[in-house]
C-alpha cells in the first residue's frame, strides 16, 4: 500500500516537473530581445455589436524582465492613450497609463488590473508577461484543442504574485510548444478564455498571429490580430520610461 502511494507521489512529482519543463520550454522558444506589432482589435459585445480599435505594441526584454508600451491609434477619441508596463520576475508588474486629454500619467493600482483594458476583453493583468517562476504547475494530461494536440497544464500563482485569477488551465501545442488556449478561473469559475490561432513562424519563433479573449461573465470577446509583427527590432531602453510615455504618446 505504502509502495503504491510512493509510486503515485513520485509519478505526480514527475508530472509536475514535466509540466514546469514544458512551460519553460514554451517560454524559451518564444524568447526574443524585443517585439513590435500593430494590433488590430475587434471587440464584440454580448449583442454582437462590433467595435474596432488599433494599437501599437513595443516590448524590450523578455519574460518577467521586460518593459512594454502599448499605444492606441484608433478609434480617434482614444488616439494617444498609452500604457507602460514594467514586468518584474518576482512580483506583479508596475503599470502607468498616459491620457492625452489630462496631459498626465496615472499609476494603475494593483486592484485595478482586473478591469477591462479600454473597453477590450483583456484586463490590465492580461497584458502582463507571465514568467514561469511566478507560478506552480500541475500536468492535467493531454487534449486536443482547436485541432492541435496539446498538453493540458494547470498553473496557480505563487503567493508573491498578486493575481485576479486563482488558477489557469493552459493548453500548449505539442508540435511547437506554443500556448494554444488559456482558461482563467476565479473562485473555480472560468472568467476569461484566450484562444490562439493563425500559427506562423516569424523569425524562427512560432507565433499565434490571432488571439481571441473571451470574457465569460459578460459574454463578450475581443479578437486581436498581430500585424507587421517583428522580433529583435533595435529598441532603446529609454523608450520605455514615463518620460517616453509622455513624449511619444501624441
Amino acid at each position: 500500500m505504502s509502495k503504491a502511494i510512493l509510486c503515485l507521489l513520485v509519478s505526480g512529482l514527475a508530472w509536475a516537473e514535466d509540466a514546469r519543463q514544458i512551460v519553460e520550454e514554451a517560454q524559451r522558444r518564444s524568447r526574443s530581445g524585443s517585439e513590435h506589432y500593430e494590433g488590430s482589435l475587434q471587440v464584440i459585445n454580448a449583442r454582437g455589436k462590433i467595435t474596432a480599435k488599433r494599437w501599437l505594441y513595443d516590448r524590450i526584454g523578455s519574460h518577467g524582465n521586460s518593459k512594454a508600451v502599448l499605444r492606441f491609434t484608433a478609434p480617434a477619441e482614444v488616439k494617444g492613450v498609452a500604457l507602460l508596463i514594467v514586468n518584474h520576475p518576482d512580483r506583479a508588474s508596475d503599470q502607468w497609463m498616459w491620457t492625452p486629454a489630462l496631459e498626465r500619467d496615472r499609476r494603475i493600482a494593483l486592484q485595478d488590473r482586473r478591469t477591462r483594458f479600454f473597453g477590450t476583453d483583456f484586463s490590465f493583468e492580461d497584458l502582463e508577461e507571465r514568467d514561469v517562476g511566478q507560478y506552480d504547475y500541475k500536468m492535467l494530461g493531454e487534449e486536443t484543442a482547436s485541432g492541435a494536440a496539446c498538453w493540458k497544464i494547470e498553473s496557480r500563482p505563487k503567493q508573491s504574485k498578486i493575481s485576479q485569477y486563482d488558477r489557469s488551465i493552459l493548453w500548449i501545442r505539442k508540435d511547437h510548444y506554443v500556448f494554444w488556449q488559456i482558461e482563467n478561473y476565479t473562485k473555480d469559475r472560468p472568467v476569461r478564455r484566450a484562444t490562439y490561432a493563425d500559427l506562423q513562424e516569424v523569425q524562427s519563433i512560432w507565433t499565434a498571429r490571432t488571439v481571441e479573449m473571451a470574457d465569460l461573465r459578460e459574454n463578450s470577446r475581443t479578437i486581436l490580430k498581430l500585424e507587421k509583427l517583428e522580433y529583435n527590432v533595435p529598441m532603446k531602453d529609454d523608450s520605455f520610461t514615463l518620460q517616453a510615455l509622455r513624449r511619444e504618446s501624441r
Partner: protein, 406 residues
Amino acid sequence: MRARGLVAALISVAACMAQSFSQRGFLETQLVGYPQTAWNDSGRAIGESLLRYEAFYKLSSGWQFSGGIDARADTHRQDARALHLSWNDREIQRPAFEVRRLSAIYHRGPLTIELGRQFIRWGKADILNPTDRFAPRDFLGVVDNEFLAVTGARLTYERGGETLDAVWVPLFTPSRIPLFDQRWLVAPAGLRVVDAGAHYPGGSQAGLRWNHLGAGYECSLSFYQGFNNLPLLSVVGTPLPAPGIWLQRLYPQMRMYGGDAAVPLKLLTVKGEAAYFTSSTPQADNYALYVIQLERQQGEWMFVGGYAGQAVTRKRQALDFAPDRGLASAFLGRATWTIDTNRSLAFEAAARQNGDGAWLKAEYSHALGQHWRVKAAFTLIRGSPGDFLGQYRRNSHGALTVRYSF
C-alpha cells in the same frame, strides 16, 4: 529615367513623413441649459462649438514638433467674436482662435527638453492638485474647467527611478476667471462690476520637481517660484455712476514647497499631495493646501474619495478668485462605472465639511461608432451665499455634448 527616380524618391520621402506624422482632433458642440436665471445674466441656454486640431511630427529619433489650434464660437459671448489668433491666452473671453500648443522637443538618452507652448502637469492626486503650479485653467464655467498651456522651457532628466524636472516659464499665463457681466461672477444684486484690466507680472516663473519611483510606491518633492495664476481682486478707480465698481486682477508673487506620493496597496491606492505657499505680495495669504485620497477599483466601478484641507498661516485679504482653496475643507469624491465598451457613467462631488456648500455632477457618456460620442451631464450646486461653492447655487445646469473625433 531621371523623372521616375525623382517620383520614387518623392514617394519614399512622403512615406517616411507619413510614418512620422500624426494628428488628431475633434469638433464638439455643447448645449448648456440653466433652470434658473441670475440677476446679472438672464440667459438660460448657451450653445458653444469647439474645433480642436493637433498635429505631431517626429523629425528624427531626437527631434519632435507639436502644434495645436482651437477655434470656438458660442451664443453667449463667453467666446470672443473678433477673428483674432491668441498666442498667450490672456484674454478675458475665450479667443475665437487660439494656439493650444506649439513646441519642439529634443530628446537624447535620459534628457528631454521641450521648448514652446506646452502643457505641464505636476502632482498625483486626481480632483485637486496643490502642486500643479504650471497648469492654469479656463474657469469661465468654474466647475467645468479646462487646462491652458504655458509658454516656456522644460528640461527633464530621467535615470532609473529618479526624475528631475526643471521648468522655466518667462511669459505668464493666467487662469481665465468668470466674466464680470455673467452668471459665474456672483456679485450683490444690483452691483455692476466692470473689468479694470489686469496687472500681469513681468517676471518669470521657475520650478523644480524630483520624482522617485520605488518598489510599490512613488513620491515627489517640488519647488515653485513665480506667481499665482489665480488673481486677487481689488477695487480701483472712481466709482461708476450707477451702483458699480471697477475690479482689477492682480497676480500675487508665490513660492511653493510641495510634495506628493502614491502607494498602491492590495485593496486601495493611497495618494496624497500637499503644498505650502508663501507670498511677498502684501495682500496675499500664506497657506497650506493638502489632499489625501483613496482609490479602489471594484469590478467596472472606480471609486476615488478623499479630503482636501487648508491651513492659513497668515491672513491678509479676502477678495480673490481661488477655486483651489474653494474646494478645501471639503470631502471630494468620484465614482465611474464603465458599463460596456461604449458607455460609461460618472459621478463627481464635493461637499464642504461645514455643510455650507456642495456640488454634484453626473455624466452619462455613449460612443456611437468610430467617431461620435454623446454626453449628457447634470450639475447640481447647493449651499449658502457666503460659501465658495454655495454662491453658485443658482448655476445648477444640464449639458448635452456631441463630439466628432477624427
